[in-house]
Structures are given as C-alpha cells and as structure tokens.
Amino acid sequence: MCLDDQVLSTYIDGELAEPWKTQVEEHLLHCTICKSRFNQLKDLGNDIKSARLREEEFTVQRDRIWQYLEKNCVAVVKERFIEKRLSFKAPVFVAAAAAFAILFSAGIYFAANSNKDIIPEIPVVSGQVDTETSNSIVAVRATDSAPAAMSLQDLTIEEILQLLDDRGFEVDLSLKSVEPLTVSLPVIDTPIDVMEEVVEEEEVYYDQEGTQLTVEEIELSETLYDVEGNEVLLEIIEIAPEEAVPETLLEESPSADPVSADPVSENPPVENPVSENPPEGNPAAP
C-alpha cells in the first residue's frame, strides 16, 4: 500500500514520529511512484523556502525600528526611572526645600560676614519638621563651627526672615511646584496672617406695612422703613469734582451742602449754613 500525500508531507516536514518514519523511508527505497511524489513535494518545499525573505532584505527596517524603539520606549523607561528616584511626598519635599532655602541664605550671610562679628543667632539649624504624612527629620548643618544648636521650631520663618532682613539681606522665599499643591503646608501656615474678608451687610428696607422691599422698589419709594418700623432716610451722595471738594468742605458746613441734601425729605435744602433747628431725621445734619 502506497503512502498518501499527508504522510509524505509530514515526513518532509520532519514531523513524522517513529516507527512510521522508518517505515516511510523503507517504502521510498523501493516504490518509484511514491518516490516520485516525494520528490515533487520536496521540490515544492524548496520552491516555497526559496521565497523566504532574506536577512539582507530587511536590515534597513530592522535598524530603523530599533532606532525608533530605543528613542521612544527605552528612553522613556530611563526617564521614568529617574522620576521615580526623585519623587518625594510633597510636604517632605517642601519642608526640605524650605530648610535648604534658609540654610542657603544663612550660609551666604555667614560667608559674607566671616571676618566680622558673627551673630550666633542661627549657627546651626537642625530641626524636626512634622508633616501630616511623615515625621521626617530635616537636619541641616552649617559650615561654621559655632557650638550652639537651635531648633527650627524655636524660630518662626518670620523671625528668620526678619533677622536676615535686619542684616541687610533681601530674602525671597518661593515654593515652586509642577502641580498646585493641594496639601496644607504645616511649615508655613502659622506666620501668615490671613486677611479677614470684609463682608458688607446688605441693607434691607421695608415699606410701611413691614414688607421687605426689593432694590427696584427701594429706588422708587419715597419713604423707607427699617426692620423695626422706623422711618429711614436715604442719603444720596454725589461725589463732587476734585477741585470742588475742598471748597465745599472749607466754605460750607456739611448741613448746607446742597448735594448731600436729602431729596426725599419734605424739608427743602437748608440754605442757611447755621441751621438752628434742623428737621429731625434730616441726614444733612452732621
């Protein structure tokens, strides 16, 4: 019985297992038909292999892709590695940066005054800076060999800055960060006075029945009342031209100032500067 193509093909591919492999070899020795077919398939296999893309056909591509990968992948990995090495938690970094800035300023100061009397306020600065996330110890050693040691906690930044300022140094402290820091910075939060926001109370007016008036109604109504039902007279102030201001202030009493007269007042503006009995509630009265 002759061999079929599948067996021959598998044999040519070198994938035929024993004992069939030996059997096929023996068969091919004496069967010319199978031998012929075997040769055909072998030739076909050689033809296919001859079409193989040769090494020299893709050396350009190989080098070009490698250049690309080296630039875009490997370089990125190296960068990432450096980033990892240098990334710290923000508060720690800020504390260290602040300590460094202080030391640097102090270093300049001491270097500049090395021949003069050294004021040993901060000869050695070593302190423990507690942050929210960690208790990192920031130890900084000055180059001077002054014996005294002072903790950072003993001095506020303001005091240090004041000291340096007194000595004639202009110190500019700035914190730089790639991203805005969302964490609170315990190092510098105490000395900074936060300006209190002045919130103006909105004045509320009512009509005679005690109904609260809107802004438009206030403008239109002649008589206004406060929350307790007392009549309120609005003072309309016009800012006089700059040259006119000193004149009116000097020559006329405030009560006679026609521009500050209340238009809603039933009384006409008082022309006499010496008003003996100004009407009650007249806002023109001082």
Binding site: I48, A51, F58, I65
Partner: protein, 176 residues
C-alpha cells in the same frame, strides 16, 4: 531565563533574536514591506508597553509572533476590503502590483511563490508562513494559533497542495 518585556537588556535581546522571525511573518502574510515595518514596530511597542514577564525567550517569541500574525491578518483583511471597494468603483480588476523589493529579487520562482501565497486563504496562509518561514515545528505553531497539532499538520499540507496547484497554473513549478 526569565524575560521582562520592559527591561532594557532583555528587550534588546528579544529584539535581536526575534525580529527576523516576526519580520518574515509580517512580510509573508502582507507582502508589503512598509506595512510589515509598521506591524513589527507596533508589535514590539505593544510587547514593551505591556511589561510582561515570560519564562523563556521562546515564550516571548510566541507572543510576538501571535501579535504580529494577528496584526498582519488584520492588515490583509482591511486591504482586501479596500481593494474590493476600489475594484467596484473602477469595475475592473487591478493588475498585481509589483513592489520595489520584489523586482529587486529578480528570482522568478521566488516571486511566483510569493504571489501564489497571497492567494491562499488566511487560515492556510498563516500556518504555511509559520511553518516555512518562521522555523517553527507543528507543536509551536499549534501553541501560537491555539489549535491542535494534527490541525496544523492538515492545514500545512492543504496549503502546500493549493500552492502546488497555483504554481502549476503559473508554470513555475518543476523548475528542475
């Protein structure tokens, strides 16, 4: 030896050893040098970005071959759809275009074989390319394509028979 796909040294080693294989896979599936270059680059970028760990360089090679084969088949399918669309517009078949590198080879049989392989259906083509141009055995091909070894054996044989038929039509075969 463990292979980290994102490690510089192992990446370099894998590139050196595996690039010829995947370049051949990409080329013999697409038969387009530019596309093959893009596909190989894409495969290695994916390999690198995934940050995988392989027990051996062979496993890394199988992964890369699998990705390259899939990218190449996708390219061919996309190209085929585009060609169908273009042919519909032109209402005439496009002549088989010869790319630069094909004419450089100058070997007629080689060129005919390459053209004949392009006519094989995708399933047979992938198996044949892996068998003939990637130096892989049936077991490895079965592993890569996630099919059985006997299936690989049958497909390889069928691919050869179809190729033989195509080459006979072209009068290429029996060059000796």
């Amino acid at each position: 030896m463990e292979v980290k796909s994102s490690g510089y040294e192992s990446f370099k080693q894998v590139y050196k050893e595996v690039f010829p294989v995947i370049m051949r896979v990409a080329y013999h599936v697409t038969y387009n040098m530019d596309a093959s270059e893009d596909i190989c680059q894409e495969a290695f970028i994916r390999f690198f970005d995934r940050g995988l760990i392989f027990p051996s360089i062979d496993e890394a090679k199988y992964w890369l071959i699998r990705v390259t084969k899939n990218l190449s088949i996708n390219y061919v399918k996309r190209k085929g759809r585009e060609k169908v669309a273009v042919d519909k517009i032109k209402k005439q078949p496009l002549p088989a275009a010869k790319t630069g590198e094909e004419t450089v080879i100058g070997n007629e049989t080689c060129e005919m074989v390459r053209q004949a392989i392009q006519l094989l259906p995708e399933k047979l083509r992938a198996v044949l390319v892996l068998k003939e141009y990637s130096d892989l055995n049936y077991k490895e091909i079965a592993n890569i394509l996630n099919i059985t070894e006997s299936n690989v054996k049958v497909r390889v044989h069928r691919a050869k028979l179809q190729l033989e038929k195509l080459l006979k039509q072209e009068g290429v075969h029996v060059s000796r």
